[in-house]
Symmetry: C2
Subunit: 447 residues, 2 copies
């Protein structure tokens, strides 16, 4: 800081989240991609944008408007008011979200249990704000954990305790142990957060039998589960998709977090939460947790833009409320890219029989997910932000250090690759550059 | 609660804001207006919707798209990405907001100091989240206070200390006294919140000389001012509009909270904050407070829908970035309504020379604001939610008890009337019904 530069405040005067690595690292990742715009980005988890179309946005808006008038019988001035005036805190496309969940996920939802949010991020934020009542509360989360969850928890002063993921997607013995450990310490584990389908960042999915055991454990331990499902629709054709936790949930154990960013458009910033848990209020009034979340929402964003909701609503209506059907092209692009990436890794890092794995220096390995956007590559050296910066500058390829998804400062020997926003040609170039980086790094460390 | 009704949680398990009157009263006010849809509503602070037009929304979107391509030189795929993909946390219409503030408010702003938010509510929330670092922090706010500010403060566990408004809009002696009182108690007053123009709910404005004295006091006491300005454009033609605090601010004392809900469309849910305060971070890096707010925003809503921003951007572009020009019809409707309401009150409640005021039983009085949406009527009896419910049911007129704008449980003998969402004919009917209620209530209490 130069002596001449005026300063009005310091970060230490502000909320502690602002000095926390979770928030600053998110910033760092954005800055790196701005710093090296010419690099191939295998970092961005953005959806494929080749099919984005502004004309479709206009059409969706009109489709939803016609739905208000023709299907729901609104007078023109009522329809105009719904779209353009202040409105219902819980949203105006809740009925279509209920139909979508019935069609695509086999989830039966009362539309009154839906809160339409400003992206899934606000849904997470509202749930964590509601659940954090005091300093004894903690949140459990399967590690590695989506950064947006950890960041939202920081903003409401809610500690996040990692639960081992293991190869099954969630280690139930560890989950039980963490619950017991928290309770023994006088703390209150409010919920366990996880992405059961093609998790960000691990790429792992949980199989049906294990989902059932997880629900049983949650009932036994009286624990809520926060199920985040942005990628479920993007499975390969190799086998049937397991049902969501919410579809299996008979005891209102699951708060379901939904996103339209990947299945419709990120630019609408529309997500939702299904919160059917029954909450007793003063005077013995009982209503859904959704109503409590809406009260919080009224003081965060008032309501989700009805114009943005109408874009999503129109898209849903144009496809019979099924986003499976609407995403045929996108799904095959992601599946193609995922296979291309995995094959490309196998070609560039063949198994080397003369260099057997050693515990402290494993070979290059990677996950082979059955869908979603992400592959995790394990390498024989620690991967940090400095290496990413060097990768962008000297090698022209960007990726995400897995250390960003762990809530501690231990070195992590892994990086995340995303296939969602690139072409097969870009994957080839990116993998060539990544292979060069890894080879150089191994040589450097051996030398 | 019936014995058969299942319960999963109680409000007492959740964040304390959910049991707080600030949040539940907001809910109550919404419920009352749903319960009596046939009543004339002098309660709603919604903008006049007669000129709302879905075709204009389509046009604004296209106007902004053309601006990206023609004025800013974006390639078609770049423009599409900006509108539909994930994007810049601080927003994409910041340059147009800077032009708008220069044109309409005489405020010079670096676009990098702007954060585009999901309505002004999110702007308030971000600022309060940033400023509340620990339990010693308190916020000062001119009373009566906008409910959305108090609600946002509740969500971040930040106590709100009232500062007397007085007839000048803010009582500077009381402001200084509250600052000293807080500091003497070991607390840290982070800022003082106020609406200098046609405040919600008081209708009061602060004159230019008093604004200058307020800025001097803020400098002397090293205090930030949070200036909220949703109504400034809607002044009558009776005299010049005083400059905003931000226009007078030479010491980066003012965080300016802006809204497009009343000047463009509530349904876009777009607002903004100007935060040019210089913040020193770790390693001596100095940047605007706006960047810190953006880090918080990335964990609350990620970014504001670029589609919604484009609607606002297009409207700005179509009017040379001046919303004064764009709101000629709206402003004359509000001015007409305000005069009609004040004249209607004078006709229905003439001064009664044979019933002189007594301290414990004043006659009916009202404010005469020079603009904005709100008139406060003082009556000779306490005004509470039960009376509002009776007014809706038995008299067919809705209004807002002023008690909702005070952060305590003292009875308040006043109610707020809004002129923004009604016609002169509805004002006549509403005032007839209100006069009947007041007369009956005075008779009942005297009897």
């Amino acid at each position: 800081m130069s002596a001449a530069e005026p300063v009005d405040l310091t970060v230490a005067d502000l909320h502690p989240a602002l000095g926390d690595p979770t928030l600053t690292s998110m910033n760092f990742l954005n800055e790196v991609s701005e710093r090296y715009p010419a690099a191939v980005s295998l970092a961005a988890g953005r959806p494929y944008e080749e099919f984005f179309d502004l004309a479709a946005v206009h059409r969706h808006l009109d489709t939803f408007h016609r739905h208000l008038v023709d299907d729901l019988g609104h007078r023109p001035e009522q329809a105009r008011r719904l779209l353009l005036q202040y409105g219902r805190t819980k949203g105006i496309v809740h009925h279509l979200i209920a139909r979508n969940l019935a069609a695509d996920e086999g989830i039966t939802v009362d539309p009154e249990d839906v809160v339409v949010t400003v992206g899934c991020q606000e849904a997470m934020f509202l749930v964590l704000r509601a659940l954090r009542a005091g300093p004894a509360d903690v949140l459990l989360a399967v590690a590695p954990t989506y950064v947006g969850l950890t960041g939202a928890a920081r903003l409401v002063d809610l500690p996040v305790w990692p639960v081992a993921g293991g190869s099954a997607g969630v280690d139930l013995a560890d989950l039980a142990a963490q619950v017991h450990r928290a309770r023994a310490a006088g703390l209150r584990p409010r919920a366990c957060y996880l992405m059961p389908d093609f998790a960000n960042p691990s790429g792992l999915s949980i199989d049906t039998a294990h989902r059932q055991r997880l629900l049983d454990l949650a009932a036994q331990e009286d624990l809520l589960l926060l199920e985040d499902n942005p990628y479920g629709l993007f499975h390969s054709d190799d086998g049937p998709r397991p049902p969501t936790l919410k579809a299996l949930d008979t005891g209102r154990r699951v708060v379901y977090l939904g996103s339209f960013a990947k299945t419709v458009l990120p630019g609408a910033r529309v997500g939702y939460v299904i919160a059917d848990q029954r909450v007793a209020g003063p005077g013995g009034r009982v209503g859904p947790l959704a109503d409590q979340l809406a009260m919080i929402k009224s003081m965060v964003t008032v309501n989700t833009s009805p114009i943005a909701q109408a874009v999503i609503g129109g898209r849903l209506l144009e496809h019979g409320c099924s986003l499976v059907a609407a995403n045929t092209r996108e799904r095959s692009a992601y599946t193609r890219n995922l296979r291309h990436l995995v094959a490309g890794l196998a070609r560039r890092f063949p198994a080397l029989p003369d260099q057997p794995d050693q515990p402290d220096r494993p070979a290059v390995r990677w996950t082979v997910p059955a869908g979603g956007f992400f592959v995790v590559v394990t390498v024989p050296f620690p991967v940090d932000d400095a290496l990413l910066d060097r990768s962008g500058r000297d090698y022209g390829v960007l990726w995400t250090p897995m250390a960003h998804f762990y809530d501690d400062t231990e070195p992590v020997r892994a990086l995340r690759l995303s296939v969602s926003a690139v072409t097969p040609e870009q994957i080839d170039v990116g993998l060539d550059r990544l292979a060069a980086l890894i080879t150089d790094e191994v040589t450097r460390l051996a030398g």
